[in-house]
Amino acid sequence: MTKMLVGNVNEIDIKGSRKLLVGNTEIALFRLTTGEVLAIENKCPHKGGALSEGMVCGSRVHCPLHDWRVDLHSGNVLTPDTGHVKTYEVEIDPESGSIYLTI
């Protein structure tokens, strides 16, 4: 388990996302309307679509390739499709807005 400073909440648009590479794993960070920042592996279980490029609706992201929906909290694919995306723990420093990611 490694904890890393990966940026500041200001660097992510609301309902937007940024990606980063840790080792060989691409991770997508999303910032929700609620202010939460969530991190998942940037890979749709269907055909590997980059989820960071998808549309964020509430706490779900729609894969840009074939519109699979992934719940950003649990990483679960929503019905009628099935599957799971890896999620990562995120902490935000309420003072500075720094984003810490634990891998």
Partner: protein, 809 residues
């Protein structure tokens, strides 16, 4: 007074047996006290879905068919992790390895099968497995984390599914097959070769006509030696060469076995009170390894045990579908040609579509489909019903239209037996669907899907489900009001009317006021509301880029591997040597893997990394081609009177003028224009949204064409004399379309929906036309070049780059 229930014991807790029990519980819920022994430590799960677990599409929980709660609530005593070791058929008792004895009145042997392991020297080494149960799946997943090379022995259905799963797990996979083409028991050579090519493109390798001889390695497998002396390296070997009915227990207990446990048409063995069903059973010489026949057997057995009159099981015609992502393969029945049969074939190497129908005595006896398996369920049903297809052959080969099927389908569905399987993926019978409609109150395909799982997987049986819905629900079918998406019950016109009436100005406001069921909508309604608001309030509305689809947010076209493509705008398809040099230099500088001409005569720079986009645009310094958005794409032109011997008007000039006039315009769906310089129509203007064709002394204006999924030729709107009139009509038409069509509705669909006459009428009045023109011009005046904007604004540009380099804390 209740009579004592009879005791029913089942050995085996797999799909086929439990299916029979489920059926029996429906027919005679009070008749038996049921005990089930299962050797695996899990509840009953869907083995055919293991490949989906391996390929990452499903989790273990997703494939459990009946959870422990199900057994409990049906009063079934379940012993998992117990192996039945012997049967006393005279005392009518079974004994388990854990010391339990259980007496029975009726006994079902549903012991399934084991994978067949080739008796190769070294087969006991670590890293040599089958692909049969959850444990195998877990071993594959574990191995993939630490090892690279996998060999799958067996190029049949199971082998290919295992290989695809291993590929998904990131391993290098080679499939070893003894035959010269793969899946030879399900496919003919043509389809097999197409399949192999497709899988090779996905990264699978094949070692064909290879006889395995020995497995190499000390403790763990290192490689595989073939009879020809060659060696293939391997860290993991999966044997998927077939299954072997599990008959040991039956044989030991004196029940007649051959390859499988021999049963008659009522699934009875030669021993009174003992039945067998599933992969362990052999019926008329065949032991089936596919799910549909086992379900059919289960249905017959359940009726027998319930004392319900039934026709015996007469064997199954089987069909196969490969559950591998990106590949659609289907085969059914007798698909190789035999004396007395003839075959019809359709083969399209470009689209990768192959279809073969085998016909005997005017009846369809077999079919192979590759690339497009949409007709599989229909064809399979015709094969099973021995339908006479005389006169329909061509229609069947070239695709069955649903209209054409409407009438005969009704009849066929009516006469179909209740236990016939409609949905092969989930084993849902016609009877189950009929019941869902008649007593379950299902009135839509969606409800049937939620209730029975029919059509919930591949969807190939959807036409049949729709047919059954028509048959049993009649006028009650699909009365559910459908809105523009699942978040609202309101349709497009109602939403637009409310936005106008209440002067709603943001997406959020619309959702709040109109009672959206999802707070932030979905990928369907968000872009459509964004469009309607922008169309209605061009001056005030601030475009929500987060409600636009990826392509429109990043102003480039996302490709399947996550790269983008860039299409510089080239007005009317005319460029200059200087621009070409610039495009070439930028393409070379950024290592663009492919440069191609688009369908609209533009240059496409494909395979660009997202991070490179802003810099490329900066260096190109050309406006966006909008080759991706719901907007004006291109205006295609021919050479026209500028060079052509036949050209009657300046098509190039007209094309450039139109493209400059309408570039960046937001429209309900993509819009394509073309201008041809003479009636020879070389620019193919009559399959465009707005087509202009020069005639001597004027221009013909055409609308509502489409060259895409549903090809539609244009309707003639009118004939005009001057260039300015072309602009006037084009403006009026496009604005009228913007104001009246639904989001994502192409002009072709829209013209068909509202009718050509209504559009002609609306545009006929010059004053109305000019008013529309004024409105489109007002909108166009507010557009700006999105490429420049991104290049110049760091706030927009940051989204193209990864967030800062992570630092460990």
């Amino acid at each position: 007074m209740s009579t004592l229930r009879k005791k029913l014991v089942m050995v085996g807790n797999g799909m086929a047996g439990v299916r029979a029990i489920e059926h029996l519980l429906k027919l005679a819920p009070e008749a038996y006290e049921i005990t089930i022994f299962g050797a695996e430590p899990h509840p009953n799960y869907n083995r055919i879905m293991l490949s989906s677990v391996l390929a990452g599409g499903a989790s273990m929980n997703d494939i459990i068919i009946n959870d422990l709660e199900w057994y409990h609530s049906n009063g079934i005593r379940l012993y998992t992790g117990h192996t039945v070791t012997s049967i006393d058929t005279r005392q009518k008792k079974v004994y388990t390895d854990k010391g339990i004895e259980s007496s029975y009145d009726e006994l079902i042997l549903a012991t399934g099968s084991n994978p067949f392991m080739l008796p190769l020297p070294g087969a006991e080494k670590e890293g040599v497995i089958a692909f049969r149960d959850i444990k195998d799946t877990q071993i594959m997943q574990e191995t993939a984390k630490t090892h690279r090379k996998a060999l799958v022995i067996g190029g049949g259905l199971l082998g290919l599914e295992a290989a695809r799963g291993l590929l998904h797990l990131g391993m290098e996979v080679s499939v070893v097959h003894i035959h010269e083409y793969i899946m030879e028991r399900q496919l003919d050579e043509a389809a097999s070769v197409m399949l192999r090519k497709e899988l090779e493109e996905q990264g699978m390798k094949f070692l064909l006509k290879k006889q395995s001889e020995a497995i190499l390695g000390k403790k763990r497998v290192k490689g595989l030696l073939f009879a020809d002396g060659e060696i293939a390296e391997a860290d993991l070997i999966v044997m998927a060469v077939g299954i072997k009915p599990n008959v040991e227990l039956a044989r030991k207990s004196g029940i007649e076995v051959n390859r499988g446990i021999i049963v008659n048409d009522y699934m009875e063995t030669n021993t009174p009170g003992v039945y067998s069903v599933g992969e362990c059973a052999e019926h008329r010489g065949i032991a089936y390894g596919l799910v549909a026949p086992l379900y059919e057997q289960g249905a017959v057995l359940a009726k027998r045990l319930a004392g319900v009159q039934t026709e015996g099981y007469a064997g199954s015609i089987t069909s196969t579908k490969l559950k591998v992502s990106g590949v659609d393969v289907f085969s059914a029945g007798q698909f190789t040609e035999q004396p007395g049969s003839r075959a019809l074939r359709y083969q399209d190497e470009i689209e990768g579509v192959y279809k073969k129908l085998v016909i005997k005595d005017d009846k369809l006896v077999g079919a192979v489909l590759f690339g497009d398996t949409g007709d599989g369920a229909q064809l399979f049903s015709m094969i099973k019903n021995h339908e006479n297809i005389k006169g329909m052959e061509k229609e069947l080969l070239l695709g069955v239209s649903s209209d054409a099927l409407a009438s005969p389908k009704g009849n066929r569905l009516e006469t179909m037996a209740d236990d016939e399987i409609i949905c092969g993926c989930n084993g849902v019978s016609k009877g189950a669907i009929a019941e869902a409609i008649q007593s379950g109150g299902c009135t839509s395909v969606g409800a049937i899907k939620a209730c029975t799982k029919a059509s919930a997987s591949c969807g190939g049986c959807k036409p049949l489900v729709e047919g059954l819905l028509q048959l049993y629900a009649g006028d009650n079918a699909v009365t559910v009001k459908e809105g523009i998406c699942g978040c609202t019950t309101l349709g497009r016109d109602e939403i637009v009317a409310e936005i106008k009436r209440m002067e709603l100005k943001t997406v959020k406001e619309v959702m709040n006021v109109l009672d959206w069921s999802n707070d932030e909508g979905c990928s369907k309604c968000r872009p459509s509301l964004n469009y309607y608001l922008g169309m209605l309030w061009p001056e005030e509305y601030i475009d929500e880029k987060e409600s636009r689809f990826t392509n429109e947010r990043y102003h480039a076209n996302i490709q399947k591997d996550g790269t983008y493509s860039v299409v510089p705008r080239i007005y009317g398809g005319v460029t200059t040597p200087a621009d070409l040099i610039k495009i070439a230099e930028v393409a070379a500088k950024f290592d663009v893997p492919m440069v191609k001409f688009t369908g609209g005569q533009r240059l496409d720079l494909l395979g660009v990394k997202k991070e490179d986009l802003p810099k490329m645009w900066e260096e190109l310094d050309m406006p966006s081609g909008h080759a991706y958005g719901k907007t004006l794409r291109t205006v295609k032109t021919c050479v026209g009177s500028t060079f052509c011997r036949f050209g009657t008007q300046d098509a190039i000039g007209m094309g450039i003028r139109l493209e400059k006039a309408f570039e960046r315009l937001n429209t309900p769906a993509k819009v394509k224009l073309a201008v041809s310089g003479c009636p020879r129509n070389c620019a193919e203007a009559t399959i465009k949204d707005f087509g202009v064709v020069a005639i001597d002394g004027g221009w013909e204006l055409h609308i509502g064409g489409n060259g895409g999924v549903h090809v539609r030729a244009t309707d003639l709107l009118c004939v005009v004399k001057t260039d300015d009139e072309v602009l006037e009509w084009a403006s009026a038409f496009l604005q009228y379309y913007r104001e009246n069509a639904g989001w994502n509705e192409r002009t072709a669909q829209w013209v068909e929906r509202v009718g050509l006459d209504s559009i002609k009428q609306a545009l006929d009045d010059r004053e109305e036309r000019l008013a529309l023109k004024e409105r489109i011009e007002a909108t166009l005046r507010l557009t700006s070049d999105p490429w420049k904007q991104i290049v110049n604004e760091p706030e927009l540009r940051k989204n193209f780059e990864p967030i800062s380099q992570p630092e460990t804390v």
